[in-house]
Structures are given as structure tokens and as C-alpha cells.
Amino acid sequence: MIEHHLPALLVVVPLVAAVVTALIRHGIAAYVTTLVASWTLPVMALMLLGQVLEAGEVSYALGGWAPPVGIEYRVDGANAPLLVLVATMAALVATYAPRSVASEINIGRRGWFYTMFLLCVAGLLGIAITADAFNAFVFLEISSLATYVLIALGRDRRALLAAYQYLILGTIGATLYVVGVGLIFVMTGSLNMGDVAARLTGIENTRPIFAALAFITVGISLKLALFPLHVWLPNAYAFAPSMATAFLASTATKVAVYLLLRFLFSLFGTDFVFVQHPITPILLALSLAAMFAASFVAVFQDDIKRMLAYSSVAQIGYITLGVALATQTGLTGAMVHVLNHALIKGALFLAVGCIVYRTGVFRIDQLAGIGRTMPVTMAAFVIAGLGLIGVPGTVGFVSKWYLVAAALEEGWWWLALAIVASSLIAVVYVGRIVEIAWFREPSSRVRAGKRLPIEMIAVTWVMAGATIYFGLDAEFTAGLAGRAADTLLAGLAGPG
């Protein structure tokens, strides 16, 4: 019985928890609620993944109204891994959170801070699971509004500016998305993605549909921080509270990537988007620009969180690169990098959270000798950093392997070289941290500080360990990613 309702429960449970935390307000009680609720999520997401692997896809009609009249939740090979990712990250970050939050958020605000976190989780899960274009917008706004608040609660006053900037750009992005959906809606009369895909056949080449494609792509690109539209991201990540940064960096942009893929492949169809229109060169150029320019900027950052944020922009470039190739291998590479980069960035930001908790230091030059005073944390940082570079044996290598393979399949050896070359820039910025952390005398700022709580180190290490585990045994993640690529390429218009 309960198995049948899992798709709805996955979103409703964090919503109920959010409401409960808002009602009780008390910091500790709210935290316990958050922890319990967020640990039920990965359980449910894994059960759903099991159902998908068994049955192919799971559809759930909300309100009992069959789509397209009602809103449908639909889990298939493409979004099931993403749901597992978001749910697991929510649980891990919630476990990590209490003392980190206690050190950064005023006691009077803690209860509601968790409310915002849960709303953000519910919003992201809602976007990932829905098969209704407008419903996706509503949940996009839930997660966005919650994100703005989370960012604004950072300790630095510039956090407010970062949140404001993100609010403006995020709203523009969401509005452009709504314009695109509106055009599709007028042309097809439907909002359900599968139904739209079926009804689009035959009228693809009309102008409104092409305009809709443009609006939706640009709108979502703002959200996923595609290269020239990434301006909000570095500040947002740099000034948000540690725990929020770790969660957002590993999930928010990934969900936006998924939504874009859903539209490009499932809804408009691979043929229409990539064969008839010059999307591939544009996306390819932007991806390459992101990989090089953002990596390059990352090298010159003074603030460790900003450095990692720019590195995120660069890594999103790798993901869109795989998308631009629009082949099975390329998409597999993109999807596997979605999962892998989430693990890597999660581990890195959690490690930074540990450093900030203990020393309060953000600036890279003040981190001198931190490797000697916090060896356990920094070891995790370095392992994840190696993943960022793409050293064999880490998850980063798996992603790059697929991307290079996809590039070579097309016969574009220069692209394969570019992928390897841009990884070398990552060596520079990760190497810089290693040099400062281990090969300099510890400064007084790094020596002093509180004891690090066990749960923070433990979660950081779970994440860092995962980057190694899935790097050595890539069967699981690559298998899921390959399945996702198949599902996306098959489109929704076909049978089923």
C-alpha cells in the first residue's frame, strides 16, 4: 500500500516536517524533526529506484485525476538517480548540521532556518519528480525562495547582497521559463510533459515552439549557472552558511540540469533540438568557455569558498559539454558527472565547513599550516580535490573518461585534449591549497579553536570515501547514468 504512494510521500514528508518545525520554532526540537524527516527520504528514494529498475517507470496521479487533466508524478530512469542523490545529500547534510548551524545562526532563528532547509529539499525533490511543466515552476519557486533566505542568513553582511542578486536573476530565469511554458501551452493545450511531447509532433517547426525552446533554455540556464549567466553563483556560495552551501552546491544546480535535459531531450526531442538547430556548437562553446575561464578565475581567488564556487561553474561546463554532444556516451558522461560532482563538491564544502567551524578562517592565505593542525579534515579535502582534478581511482576520473570517450566517438580529438587540459588548471588551484596547508608553518589563527564535533568529520569522510568508492567501482553510478541517458534519448513521445 505504502509503496504505491511513495512518489507523493517523498515530497509531502519534508513539507509536513517544514510546517511542523515552523510551528514548534524551538531550535533543538526543530532539528530533531528535520533529522528524522530527512533520513526517511533516502529510504523512500531508494525504494523508488528499486521500483523503477524493476518496472521501468512509476507514475502517480495526484488527486486521482489521470493526466493530462491532473498533475502527474513520474519516476523513470532519468530522475530516479537524481532523487536518490538529493534525498541522500539532505540526510547527510542534516546529520552534519546541528553544531555548524549553532555556530553560525543566531539561536532565535535556528528553528525557522531548518524550516527553510526542509522547504528547499521539498522544492528540489518536487522539481525532479514532477511530469508537469507548470508544477515544476511552482516547486522551482519554493526551492528558490527558500534558497534566497538561506543565503541571506550568512554571517557576512555581503550575504544579503548575494541573496538579492540571486533573487533578481533567479526570478528573471523563472519568468523566462514561464514564458516558454506558456508558448508551449498555447500551442498544445497541455502541461503534462508526456502529453506535450506527443502533441508536439507535427507542429515542431512553428515559430512559437522555437521561441519556447529558446526561452526555456535561457531561463533554466540562469538557474544552473551556465557560463555567462553564472554571476550570482560565486557570491551566493561564498556567503551562505556552510551547511547551506554544501547542500546547494551538490544539489540545486544538478536539479536545474535535469530539468533542462528533460525539456531538451524528452519534451522537444533530440532530433528537433540537436539536429535541426545549432544548439551543439553554442552549448559546446559556452561549456568550453566555462571550463577554462571559470577554472582560471578560481586560481586567483583569496576566499576558499569562492574558489570552490568558481570551480563549480567550471564543472557545470563539463556537464553541459556532455549534453552538447547529445550522444549516448556524452549524456552518460553528463549524468555520471552530475552524481559525481555532487559527491565531490559536497565533500569539499563540508570540509570547508569544518575548517570554518574550528577556526573561522575563509581566506586562503590564512589557512597556512592547516594540514598539520586539522589533518583528518584536510585529508578528506585533498581526496575530494583529487576527484575534482580527475585522478584515476576517484569519481572525477570516471566522469572524464566518459566525456573523453564521447568526444573521441565524434572524432573530435581536440575536444578530448581540451578536457584533459582544463583538468590541469584544477591541479593548480587544488595544489595551491595543498601547498599552503601542509608546507607552511601553522599560524596562530589556525592553531586556536574549538574541538571539531564527531558528526561533522564523520559525514565529511563518508562523502570523501564515496568519491573513492564510486571511483573504483563505477558500475553502479555509470549504470544508472547510462540508463538515464537511454531514457532521455528515447523521449517521452514514444510508447509509454
Binding site: 507548470f134 515552476f137 511552482v138 519557486e141 525562495l145 534566497y148 533566505v149 541571506a152 553582511r157 555581503r158 544579503l160 547582497l161 541573496a163 538579492y164 533573487l167 533578481i168 526570478t171 528573471i172 519568468t175 514561464v178 514564458v179 506558456g182 508558448l183 501551452f185 498555447v186 502541461l191
Partner: protein, 122 residues
């Protein structure tokens, strides 16, 4: 009236587009944060027209079933726009709250001045 009816479709969309461009222009060009938010809501409101215009049937009535009426306008766009309005006002409220806090923290709500100050901090 028939001439008006012929002109109306184009006019509707032209105004919608004009409003959208103006809204977007205000958001991107103006440095004052309150004005930016006004522009943002202009931008959002213009989208409402884009949804509602195609839903109208000439000679139709609002979608409330009653005797004596046969032709009704499409109800679904109305529902979507209701939701969009709500989302818009929620964003506006949050944005204004942020502006108030920014004004307290920095003493200004002009972006140009703010970025100058930001450089001093760094």
C-alpha cells in the same frame, strides 16, 4: 467593431511584449533596488497577459457554468496565472525584506554605491 476585432490580436501581443521589454529593461538598467523590483513585477505581470489573451473566446463568458451560456473562456490559464500572481507577490515581499536589511547594513540601496563599498571591504 469587426475592425477592432481584427486589430486586437496583434495589439494585445504588442503591448504585452512592450511591457515585458520595459520591465526587463528596468531590472537590468536601474541601480535602485526598489525600482528594480518594480521592474521585475512589471516583467512578471506582462507574462499574465501572454497566458490570458489566448484563453479568451470572442463572445464567450467567464468560465462559471450557468444556464443560458454556451461559450466559456478557457479556465486553465486563469488558474495558472492565479498561482503566478501569488508567486510574484511572494518574491516581491522577500525582495523588499532583503532591501530593508541591506539598507540597514550598508546605508544605501543604490547598487553602484554598494559595489564601490564592496571593493573597500575586500
Amino acid at each position: 467593431m469587426s475592425q477592432v476585432a481584427e486589430l486586437l490580436p496583434l495589439y494585445n501581443y504588442w503591448i504585452t511584449i512592450f511591457l515585458m521589454i520595459s520591465g526587463l529593461y528596468i531590472v537590468v538598467a536601474r541601480g535602485n533596488m526598489v525600482k528594480k523590483l518594480v521592474g521585475l513585477s512589471l516583467f512578471q505581470t506582462s507574462v499574465y497577459l501572454l497566458y490570458l489573451s489566448p484563453g479568451k473566446i470572442l463572445g464567450g463568458t467567464p468560465p462559471i457554468i450557468a444556464e443560458g451560456f454556451e461559450v466559456y473562456s478557457a479556465p486553465l490559464p486563469h488558474v495558472l496565472i492565479l498561482t503566478a500572481i501569488v508567486v510574484g507577490v511572494a518574491t516581491l515581499a522577500l525582495g523588499l525584506a532583503l532591501i530593508v536589511r541591506i539598507n540597514e547594513a550598508f546605508g544605501t540601496i543604490e547598487e553602484d554605491e554598494l559595489f564601490d563599498r564592496d571593493d573597500d571591504d575586500a
